[in-house]
Symmetry: none
Subunit: 189 residues, 4 copies
DNA sequence: ATATAATCGAGACGGTACGTCCCGTCTTGCA
DNA sequence: TGCAAGACGGGACGTACCGTCTCGATTATAT
C-alpha cells in the first residue's frame, strides 16, 4: 500500500541543480530538461514532485532557510518596515532575485501557479507586515483604515523594480519606502 | 535598393490577430506561429517588423489610440493622480491587461526587452506623473525631494496586482493610491 | 530457503488480464505496465515469472487447453493435414490470432525470444506434421525426401497471411494448402 | 503558395543514416531519435516525410535500385521461379533482410502500415510471380486454378524463415520451393 | 512459537523514445 | 524588396514503458 518512499537525495539533487542552473544561465536556462540532465534525475521523477519549473523554484526559495524573514519590533513602524525591507532587498540580490523574477514570469502565465505562489511565499511576507501594522495601530501610529492597501504600498514598488530590472533595490530605497508607508499609515483616510 | 514597400494591410493584420489571440487564448496563446497562422501573414514578414512577440504586443498597445493617457491638470495633485490612475486601471481590463501581463513576463525574462519596454511604454507613463508632480511642486503641494520615488509609488502597486492577478484594479484602489501618493508628496523627507 | 510460495491466483490474474487487454486493445495494448495496472499485480511479480511480454503471451497461448492440437490419423496425408490446418486456422481467430501476431513481432525483433518461441510453440506444431508425414511415408504416400521442407510448406503461408493481415485463414485455404502439400510430398524430388 | 521545397539532401541523409543504424545496431537500434541524431536532421523534418520508422525503412528498401526484381522468362515456370527466388533470397542477406524483418514487425502492429507495405513492396513481388504463372499457363504448364494461392506458396515459406530467423534462405531452398510450386501448379485442383 | 525467507502490492527511480510545439532562419516563386 | 508558403535545425515539452529498486505487509516452512 505504501510503495517505495520518495528519496530525499533526489529532492536535494533537484534543488541544487536548479540553483546551479539559475546562477549560471539565469532563469531562462532553467528547464525541466536541463534540471534532469544536470542532476541525473529522470524527468518523470521531477514531474512526480512538481508540476512546473515554477514550482521547483518555489521549493528552492523555500529551502533558503524558510525565508529567514526578520520580524523586528522596535516600537516604531517606520523602523520595523525599514529593517524588514532592508533585509528583503538584500535577499533579492543574486540567485534569489533571479528566482523571484522567474516566479513572477510563471505566475503571470499561470493563474493556478499564481495562487500557489501567493499562498506559499507572498502571503507570508504580507503577514509579517500586517502584524507590524497591527502593533503600530495599537500604539496609535496608524490612522489609515486599510491594512491591505498599506501592505501593497510596501511590496508594490519592490516588484515593480524587480520586474523591469531598471533600478536597484538598495538601502536608501528601503528607507524611503518605510518612511512613505509610515507616513501614509499615520494620515487619516 | 528601394523595392516593394511594406504593406500597411499586413501591419494591421498582425495587430488584429495578436489582439484576437490574446483575447481568446490569453497571452500564452500569442506566439509568432499562432499570429502567422491566424493572420495569414508569413512568419518572416512579422520578424521583419518585430524582434519578438513582446514587441508585437507593445505595438498593439501603442495602437490603442496612442495610449489615450489623460494628463489632467485640475490644480490638485491628488485629483490629477486619481484621474490618471482611474483611466489607467480601466484600460487594464480586457485585452490590454492581458497584453500588459504578457509584457511583464517578457521583460522579466529578457533584460534587453525590459529596456525597450521601459523606453516605449513605462517612461511615457512616468513622464506624465512626473509632470503632474512638477506642476504640484510649483503650487507648493510637494515637499518630498525625490520625484522618481513618488512615481514608483504610483505605479508599483498596479504592477504588483497585475502580476499576481490577485486583486482587482478598481476605482477605489485608484483613489486610495492617489491619496496616499499625494500624502507622501506633501510630507517633507 | 523455502519462503512463501508463488500464488496461483496471481498466475491466473496475469493470464486473464493479458487476454483481456489483447482482446480490447490489440496486442499493442499489452505492455507490462498495462498488465500490472489491469490485473492489480505488481510489475515485479510479473517479471518474477516472465522475462518479457512475449513470454506472457506464450503462457497465455499455452493455457489455451494446452494447444488443443488435433493429431488426426485418417490414413490420408491430405486429410490429416486438412484437419490439422482447419483447426489451427480456426484457433487463429480472435485473441489467439492477436497473440500470435504479437509473438511474431516479438520474435522478429529479438533473436533469443525467437528461439524460445520456436522451442515452445512452433516446434510442437511442426512435430505433429512431421509425424503425419512419417505415417504417410510408411504408407507410401511420400516421395519427397525433405520433411522439413514439407513442414515449411504447411506453415509458411499461414504466417505469411497472419503477418500482413491481408487475407483470411479460412477453411478453403486449409483445404488448398493440405492438397498442395500432399501433392508435393507425393512427387519425387 | 509554393514554399521552400523539400531538400533532397535531407532525404538522402535520412536514408543513409537509417541504413547505417540498421547495419550497426539492428532493427531495434533504428528509432526516430537515433536517425535524427545520426543524420543531423531534425525529428520534425523526418516526421514531415514519414509517419513511422517503418515508412522510413520502406523508403530505404525502395531506394535499393527499386528492388531490382529479376523477371526471367526461360520458358519454364520452375526455372523462372528459381531464378526469382534465388535473387530474392540473396537480397535478404545483410541489411536488406534486417529491414524486411523490421517491416514485418511494423506491419504486424499497424494495420494501416501493413496496407502500405503490401502496396509498395509485397504486391510488386507478387505481380512478378503472377506474370510468370500467367505465361506458364499459356504454355500449358499450369492446371491449378488459383494464382493467388500459388503466389502464397512462393513467398510464404520465405517470410516464415525470415520471421523466426531459424533457417537459412539458401540456393537449395530456392530450388526446392520453385520445384514444389511448379509441381502444385501443374497438378489439377 | 518463532525465526527465516520468499512473495506480493505499491510505487519510486534512471532511462529512452515518443510525437508535438514553437523558435528563428532559410529558400522557393510570385507581385 | 515584400510577401505567402513552408522547409529546416534546434530545443523543450509532457507522456509512456522499460526493467530495477526499495518499502511494508503476508504467508509459508524449518527450527
Amino acid at each position: 500500500m505504501t510503495g517505495r518512499p520518495r528519496s530525499p537525495v533526489v529532492d536535494e539533487a533537484i534543488i541544487r541543480s536548479t540553483m546551479a542552473l539559475a546562477q549560471q544561465f539565469g532563469y531562462r536556462g532553467v528547464s525541466m530538461e536541463a534540471i534532469a540532465a544536470h542532476s541525473g534525475v529522470a524527468k518523470q521523477t521531477i514531474y512526480r514532485r512538481y508540476q512546473s519549473i515554477g514550482e521547483v523554484m518555489l521549493a528552492v526559495l523555500a529551502s533558503f532557510a524558510e525565508e529567514q524573514l526578520p520580524n523586528p519590533d522596535t516600537g516604531s513602524l517606520r523602523e520595523d518596515l525599514y529593517l524588514l525591507l532592508s533585509a528583503t532587498f538584500a535577499a533579492q540580490q543574486g540567485i534569489s532575485g533571479e528566482l523571484n523574477r522567474g516566479l513572477a514570469a510563471e505566475a503571470v502565465q499561470d493563474e493556478a501557479f499564481a495562487r500557489k505562489l501567493w499562498e506559499r511565499l507572498i502571503s507570508n511576507r504580507r503577514e509579517v507586515v500586517r502584524a507590524m501594522i497591527g502593533r503600530a495601530r495599537v500604539r496609535g501610529e496608524v490612522a489609515h483604515p486599510d491594512d491591505e492597501f498599506l501592505v501593497d504600498l510596501v511590496f508594490g514598488p519592490m516588484w515593480y523594480r524587480l520586474l523591469f530590472g531598471r533600478a536597484v533595490l538598495d538601502d536608501k530605497y528601503a528607507r524611503q519606502l518605510a518612511e512613505a508607508t509610515a507616513t501614509v499609515a499615520a494620515a487619516p483616510a
